[in-house]
């Protein structure tokens, strides 16, 4: 199972990357895309939207299932990845390259509350 060590994770299978400018990129993990299968539709959050931690932010739909993607921490949406609108399969091809949305966190320190790769690995293994 591909779980990069330079990312943070949520129990609900989102990955989070802290960018150099203090914003975060959010996507779903390789494990999550494998569970869902071929993705066919992605609904992205509008820029400027204020989100609480664990609030529904995006929807990813495969042929078989629809899933909510949650904001990993509180903050403001900067942009959704419009490249995915016409090519949702990019998430299946490389889940860690295909970010869904970027946020400016209300408090960067909140990142410390997220899981590291080892802790996320345990959750996947237990599932």
């Amino acid at each position: 199972m591909n779980i990069p060590t330079d990312l943070k994770y949520t129990r609900s299978h989102e990955w989070v990357r802290l960018e150099a400018d203090g914003t975060i990129s959010v996507g779903i993990t390789d494990h999550a895309q494998e569970l869902l299968g071929d993705l066919v539709f992605i609904e992205l959050p509008e820029p400027g939207r204020e989100l609480a931690a664990e609030q529904e932010a995006a929807v990813v739909e495969s042929v078989k299932a629809a899933a909510d993607v949650y904001a990993p921490l509180a903050g403001t949406v900067i942009e959704g990845n419009e490249a995915l609108a016409n090519a949702p399969e990019l998430v299946n091809q490389d889940a860690y390259a295909a970010w869904l949305f970027r946020m400016r966190p209300a408090a960067v320190g909140d990142l410390d509350n997220l899981l590291d790769a080892a802790a996320y690995q345990e959750i996947v293994a237990a599932a």
Binding site: H13, I28, L35, F41, E61, K64, A66, A67
Partner: protein, 384 residues
């Protein structure tokens, strides 16, 4: 990320909650695992959902040939001097339409209230010898029902399920424009009997029953054979280029073909007349059958039509439909790999007609969809 509960596609699929230890397995189970299948619970059976990409498997069937393990379905032999009389009274379609040996008939089996206990195919093998193929999840209930009716009517009929134990059968569906050619290559001994086989006919060759039937909207065969021979046939078909396909592709293929799925598009609470199955119910003949009185007393109340989503999104079962003529509900919906957009089967007000624009409630939004005939794709061609 959390998977939405409605997306588990009716009562059958449970992709994310496995009950491996208690599930039943077909004789091909090990083969599916060896080929990397994602296994899921389908009506209490552990079956392949896909072997990597559901969409690629779907396209393989539309463009070339795919094969499905459908051994979870239950073949039932109905034999005896009263076999025809029994089925004539048991089924909503008229078994007297089966006069030529090998002919197949699609039918529903109804309860007294006119609700659908199951849908099935009955093959006429010989006089006094019929083969009925019923769904996996409903099999036990069906067999109880059939046996009870036989006893109640006092008919000379034996009812033998052929799914387990001695005489157990397996079923492999090979579907797609190249399916028959590949089967001919792998089973040359069947070629003489199969070469002239018309759609909805079956031929018995040795221990194989080869039927030109299917659940994909493509040409092909459904092959029933002794369970012990299934792994060999499966692997020879794979070597001939038939793509192993899971139940995921089977669902999108049947949806594109406008074919109903039991438990989703109809069940015991739904009249076949409200599920687009009036063509399978013979009310004209003077014969009596279970449910006939109820159907005559309660004519069709809903239309059963297709929806083609105009806006972006994915249609799913149980989404509500708003039309100029009143409310409706999607019974099956998904993304169509052939049309590259969402499609659905829906129960709509009787006045709703092909060409209408309706609104579908998807989460907090209303999305526009066009009403179409409920057959989206047939033999590789888009019909809507």
């Amino acid at each position: 990320m959390r998977v939405r509960p409605f997306s588990a596609s009716g009562i059958h699929f449970n992709t994310f909650l496995l009950r491996i230890d208690t599930m039943q397995k077909t004789v091909l189970n090990e083969e599916h695992r060896r080929r990397g299948a994602r296994m899921v619970d389908f009506g209490g059976w552990e079956m392949p959902l896909h072997y990597g990409s559901q969409i690629e498997e779907h396209h393989a069937v539309r463009g070339d040939a795919g094969m499905f393990d459908v051994s979870h379905m239950c073949a039932v032999d109905v034999r005896g001097s009263d076999a025809r009389a029994f089925l004539r009274r048991l089924l909503a379609n008229n078994v007297d339409r089966l006069q030529l040996p090998g002919k197949a008939l699609y039918s529903t089996m109804l309860n007294e209230a006119g609700g659908v206990i199951d849908d099935l195919i009955v093959y006429h093998l010989a006089e006094n010898d019929f083969r009925v193929v019923i769904n996996a999840a409903t099999a036990a209930n069906d067999l109880r029902w059939m046996t009870a009716r036989r006893d109640e009517w006092g008919l000379a009929v034996t009812i033998s399920a052929r799914r387990e134990g001695e005489g157990a059968l397996a079923m492999i569906a090979v579907q797609g424009p190249q399916a028959r050619q590949k089967v001919g290559q792998v089973l040359p001994e069947c070629q003489p009997a199969c070469a002239g086989l018309k759609p909805f006919f079956a031929a018995s060759v040795g221990e194989h029953l080869i039927a030109r039937t299917g659940y994909t909207g493509e040409d092909g065969y459904e092959i029933t054979l002794p369970a012990a021979q299934a792994v060999s046939l499966w692997n020879r078909l794979a070597d001939a280029g038939a793509q192993p396909c899971g139940l995921g592709a089977r669902d999108t293929l049947r949806l594109e073909a406008g074919m109903n799925l039991y438990g989703q598009d109809m069940d015991e609470s739904v009249s076949p007349l409200d599920a687009g199955l009036a063509w399978t119910v013979d009310l004209a003949a003077p014969r009596d059958f279970v449910g006939k009185t109820a159907l005559l007393a309660r004519p069709q109340r809903y239309g059963f039509l297709g929806l083609l989503l105009i806006d972006r999104g994915v249609l799913r079962a149980h989404q509500q439909v708003e039309s100029a003529h009143g409310a409706g509900e999607i019974t099956s919906g998904s993304f169509s790999p052939t049309l590259q957009r969402a499609i659905a089967l829906a129960r709509l007000p009787l006045a709703a007609a092909v060409g209408d624009i309706v609104q579908v409630r998807v989460r907090e939004k209303l999305l526009a969809a066009r009403v179409v005939k409920p057959c989206f794709v047939r033999n590789g061609s888009i019909l809507v």
